[in-house]
């Protein structure tokens, strides 16, 4: 593969910009030409994924590249490191699956032009968050991600959607505001050395650093749905299912999680974070979010809301691993970050299929769905097992390394928390599955049709990927290893 410096720059720019370019292209195509629009959407989503892959692979191979642009006292720069590469990979890859699913799910809905163009814009913003080379650039794409996903949240055009959209904007802009203050304080302490040259704040000594960290965590915690700041996430479930699946289970919330990890490892650095006692306090916050999220999820009857709260819980798995400041913990966090979205998206996809085909969104009324939609429910079952962290599925490895990390750090209670959360997760989903196959009602619907195929294919593919990576974790391990080496090597 050619790794010349120019080629790398081109990959980086194309990976970042194909989403935005596609969004513009889709915006310009008349609404009636659906087939052409879908082709272009897929094309640009694919090109974003391919170039992100190329960039990520070159980063893993140790060949980074950097694009910078100075304006005034600020510099905007793209400079992917392994952590960003992992996030960029996940986001851009899953975007393709969600795009295909959207073709099926959105087939008969209105406002598709706006939907697809902003869907692609958000891809660019997410990739930008991943590849950002310094704090200001991260902040730029972070804000753009909020803005680009806003039209998707209010897509249904109902008053409820509008209210959810406003909530979404308010929460995320407030969080971004906290981040902005923190960034400016960081710049005052340390200038702008970028992420790749070691921790930004290394060598800075100030009593304010603790508060700075709190501000960062609170700011990114809003998007990462850390427990008291998570309220926008269930509200945003009014969005169409692909949006919920991709953005609110993966891309947007991952941007928050990614930001937290970025701050802990790239801004403060392991040493400073250790001194500030991150590993003593914050894992408890994460652990309590894990348990509280999943317990609240148990009480939800609307399937998407249950999934949303369960997302809140699972995101904190990643944070827990990162907060341990142990190599194994970080590796676990990365494995969790890579493997978990496959399963979560499958769950959302299946929930969307059920809602589309039967019109049911409440778990209590889903009896007998499994008999009519056997394949869908099979995929759902597999994903549900994945949520509990069973072996043949890839999520096991994430949990395994997380436990290893917490035990290695002498923090065995977290291993117990993880185990308990697995059990509660089982309690969350197994009854759904059982009821779906045993229930007495038989809703009238079929598992057929073109849009059904478009919706089911991505879900099935995700399950297959999860199975394969579960059996051969070596496929995804290099990513986790690269990140761990980068920060601990």
């Amino acid at each position: 593969m050619p790794y010349s410096a120019d080629a790398l720059k081109i990959y980086l720019v194309l990976g970042l910009s194909s989403g935005a370019a596609g969004g513009l292209a889709v915006m310009l195509i008349p609404g009636a030409r659906r087939r052409l629009r879908n082709m272009i959407t897929l094309l640009f989503a694919a090109s974003g994924a391919v170039f992100s892959w190329l960039t990520a692979l070159s980063v893993f191979a140790g060949k980074g590249t950097r694009i910078g642009f100075v304006s005034g006292d600020l510099e905007w720069s793209l400079d992917p490191d392994p952590l960003g590469a992992v996030f960029g990979l996940i986001a851009s890859t899953l975007w393709m699956f969600a795009t295909v699913y959207s073709f099926g799910y959105m087939a008969e809905k209105s406002g598709q032009r706006v939907y697809y163009s902003f869907f692609l814009f958000s891809l660019s913003a997410a990739v930008g968050v991943a590849f950002a080379g310094n704090l200001v650039t991260l902040y730029l794409f972070y804000e753009l991600l909020t803005l680009a996903t806003y039209p998707l949240v209010i897509h249904e055009r109902t008053p409820e959607a509008a209210a959810a959209g406003t909530k979404y904007i308010m929460y995320n802009l407030s969080g971004a505001g906290a981040i902005l203050i923190a960034i400016i304080i960081t710049y005052r302490y340390a200038g702008d050395p970028g992420f790749t040259g070691g921790p930004v704040l290394a060598g800075v000594n100030s009593p304010m650093l603790g508060w700075l960290l709190v501000m960062y965590i609170v700011g990114f915690g809003v998007k990462a749905a850390l427990m008291p700041l998570h309220r926008w996430l269930p509200a945003a479930m009014v969005a169409p299912t692909p949006v919920s699946a991709l953005l609110h289970a993966v891309a947007v919330v991952y941007a928050g999680v990614f930001g937290v990890i970025r701050v802990v490892y790239s801004v403060f650095g392991r040493g400073l974070a250790g001194q500030l006692g991150i590993s003593r306090v914050l894992p408890w916050v994460a652990a309590s979010t894990i348990l509280a999220g999943v317990i609240v999820a148990l009480r939800q009857d609307v399937l998407k809301r249950r999934l949303a709260y369960q997302t809140v819980s699972h995101l904190s798995y990643i944070l827990l691993g990162a907060f341990t400041l142990q190599p194994w913990g970080l590796a676990g966090a990365m494995m969790q970050m890579i493997t978990y979205p496959f399963m979560k998206m499958t769950l959302f996809f299946c929930a969307g299929i059920i809602a589309r085909q039967t019109g049911e969104t409440r778990i209590s009324r889903m009896g007998g769905v499994g008999r009519k939609l056997p394949w869908t429910m099979a995929a759902f079952t597999a994903a549900a097992l994945g949520m509990t962290g069973m072996l043949p599925l890839s999520t096991f490895w994430g949990k395994y390394y997380l436990m290893k990390g917490s035990v290695a750090g002498g923090m065995w209670p977290f291993a117990l928390v993880l185990a308990a959360s697995g059990l509660i997760n089982a309690a969350c989903f197994i009854p759904v599955v059982v009821q779906a196959f045993r229930g007495d009602k038989t809703p009238s619907c079929k598992e057929k049709g073109g849009s059904m195929a478009l919706m089911f294919a991505p879900a099935a593919a995700l399950v297959v990927i999860a199975l394969v990576t579960g059996l051969v974790p070596g496929i995804v391990w290099p990513g986790a290893e690269a990140v761990t080496d980068w920060f601990f090597g």
Binding site: R157, L173, I184
Partner: protein, 529 residues
């Protein structure tokens, strides 16, 4: 000829718009010529400012003092060309040129016949000229006279709409603005009595010696000047006149009032406080604390008052109250970063608020509706206008790559410099609230479908019957009501909106030279140099 202009450039920048304004009514019947002259005068002003900026940049550190009529300082009137003046002149010219462009061929709907538009243009140019004068003037009484020119032309612009509502708003504005002028003139009187000078530099020296003997006089002078200019520039508890005046004026007038006129008074106040009284006296009388407190109150209260407004222009007017708070906050920080941020924010807000008012005006004019709830789906029909509105909104909220972000960045940096954390939080809270009152507009424009086909159809029917009626009873001609078509305005308007949006982007993406200019202005004001 060029040499004469180059030597008298500071006066030239003031005189050209004023003279063009005075000449305009002569050509009142020839619409094209009038419009051409206005744009020409603006362009000449902008070119002059560009040259002034070049001079300031090449002779850094020394002010160009221009003596009007050739009389030296304490006897005659002085103009000072320094970074602050050039910065504000740039803002004035770069924003008023697109506004003038926007008005081309577009004013009759809101103002009236050819003659009336010519008068409107005259008032507009007089306002621009007086603002340019405020930037340069280095004489207390001269500043007062310029402020009066600006006040009268502002009130005239508000009243030019011709509606009783506008006349009422103009009267309130005139009364309060004149009260403010009286406060200012009495403040100037106190300064004159204690120092015997009207030149800002000499008065400042005099005050530095005299204030300890006469603390109450200086205190009274400061507070009169502060309240006077605060009233004119709608500092929070004194903003009562602004929403009515700015929302009932014709849209281009709203743009220039909200975008520039308010800023002119702020620059005057800035010069009075920093140049005449000086940073030391400001600290002594804790003017800085008052400015910061009032600014914070303005940010929050203005935004909260903007939230429930359904009339689009009123919402924008209240937003001005809130945004003015940011600038005052920066003025009060007494810090290089904060002051530079405030100046940058001032320029940025001038461009942004003008864009907002102009695009809102275009939408109101073509849709015939002025409530936000009635604007549903207008973005599809007027994409460029709505896009300009959206870009400006994002700038106002402070999204990176737009000008507002840079201003907020330096404001936050400045308030962190002073070690006070509360203003920082208020700045952020203000931009979140700003999103709260602007996002519903954006949502309505782009993402909502026009409501209630039924109402629409009855209106259409009424129109139809009216047209039929007219056709039956009248020969076809200009009297027949034209068909209402909602679409983007004409080429000149589009160009104006594009130019203003470009200014917002340029300030946001390459703020380098502008922030440098603002910073050197701040350093001058704080006497760091």
């Amino acid at each position: 000829m060029t040499a004469v202009i180059a030597d008298n450039l500071p006066a030239f920048v003031i005189i050209v718009p004023l003279f063009a304004g005075v000449v305009l009514p002569v050509f009142a019947r020839r619409q094209r010529l009038v419009e051409g002259l206005v744009v020409l005068a603006e362009a000449a002003g902008l070119a002059g400012v560009g040259f002034l900026a070049y001079i300031v940049f090449t002779h850094r550190g020394t002010d160009w003092v221009y003596q009007m009529g050739g009389w030296p300082a304490p006897w005659g009137i002085e103009l000072t060309v320094n970074s602050l003046a050039v910065f504000f002149l740039f803002a004035v010219m770069a924003v008023s040129l697109p506004i003038a462009l926007f008005t081309m061929g577009n004013l009759k709907d809101e103002v009236g016949s050819n003659k009336r538009t010519a008068r409107f243009y005259t008032l507009f140019l007089l306002l621009v000229g007086s603002l340019a004068g405020m930037a340069l003037a280095n004489d207390l009484f001269n500043t007062y006279v310029l402020v009066e020119v600006a006040t009268l032309s502002c009130c005239g612009l508000v009243s030019s709409r011709g509606t009783p509502r506008a006349a009422e708003a103009a009267f309130t504005y005139l009364v309060l603005a004149t009260l403010a002028s009286s406060l200012v003139v009495i403040g100037i009187g106190f300064i004159y009595v204690t120092t015997g000078h009207l030149n800002m530099g000499f008065a400042s020296q005099g005050l530095a010696q005299a204030w300890q003997d006469r603390p109450h006089v200086v205190w009274l002078a400061i507070s009169f000047v502060l309240v006077g200019f605060g009233l004119k520039s709608a500092l929070f508890p004194l903003h009562v006149w602004l929403p009515d005046a700015h929302s009932s004026a014709p849209s281009p007038a709203s743009a220039v009032l909200s975008g520039l006129a308010v800023k002119g008074y702020m620059i005057c106040l800035l010069k009075f406080l920093y140049v005449v009284f000086g940073p030391a006296l400001m600290k002594e009388f804790s003017v800085d604390r008052i400015l910061v407190l009032a600014g914070m109150a303005a940010i929050i209260c203005g935004a909260v008052m903007a939230l429930p407004q359904d009339d689009l222009k009123r919402r924008l007017a209240f937003s001005t109250v809130s945004q003015v708070g940011y600038i005052y906050l920066g003025f009060g920080l007494m810090d290089e970063n904060g002051l530079a941020g405030a100046l940058f924010y001032l320029a940025s807000h001038a461009a942004i608020k003008s864009t907002l008012f102009l695009s809102a005006g275009a939408m109101i004019a073509s849709a015939g509706k002025k409530k936000i709830s009635e604007m549903a789906g207008i973005g599809r029909k007027m994409p460029l206008t709505a896009a300009a509105f959206t870009a400006a909104s994002l700038g106002l909220i402070g999204i990176p790559m737009f000008s507002g972000f840079i201003g907020k960045w330096y404001l936050i940096a400045g308030s962190l410099d002073t070690g006070d954390f509360l203003p920082t939080v208020i700045i952020i809270a203000g931009s979140v609230l700003c999103a709260a009152y602007l996002f519903p507009v954006i949502r309505a424009m782009w993402f909502e479908t026009p409501q209630k086909a039924k109402q629409e159809s009855t209106v259409q029917q009424e129109c139809k019957t009216a047209v039929q009626h007219a056709a039956e009873h009248m020969p076809a001609g200009p009297g027949v009501p034209r068909e209402v078509r909602v679409k983007d305005p004409g080429a000149a308007q589009k160009l104006a909106l594009i130019l203003l949006t470009a200014v917002i982007f340029v300030l946001g993406v390459v703020p380098g030279p502008f922030i440098e200019l603002a910073r050197s202005a701040a350093a001058e004001l704080l006497m760091l140099r």
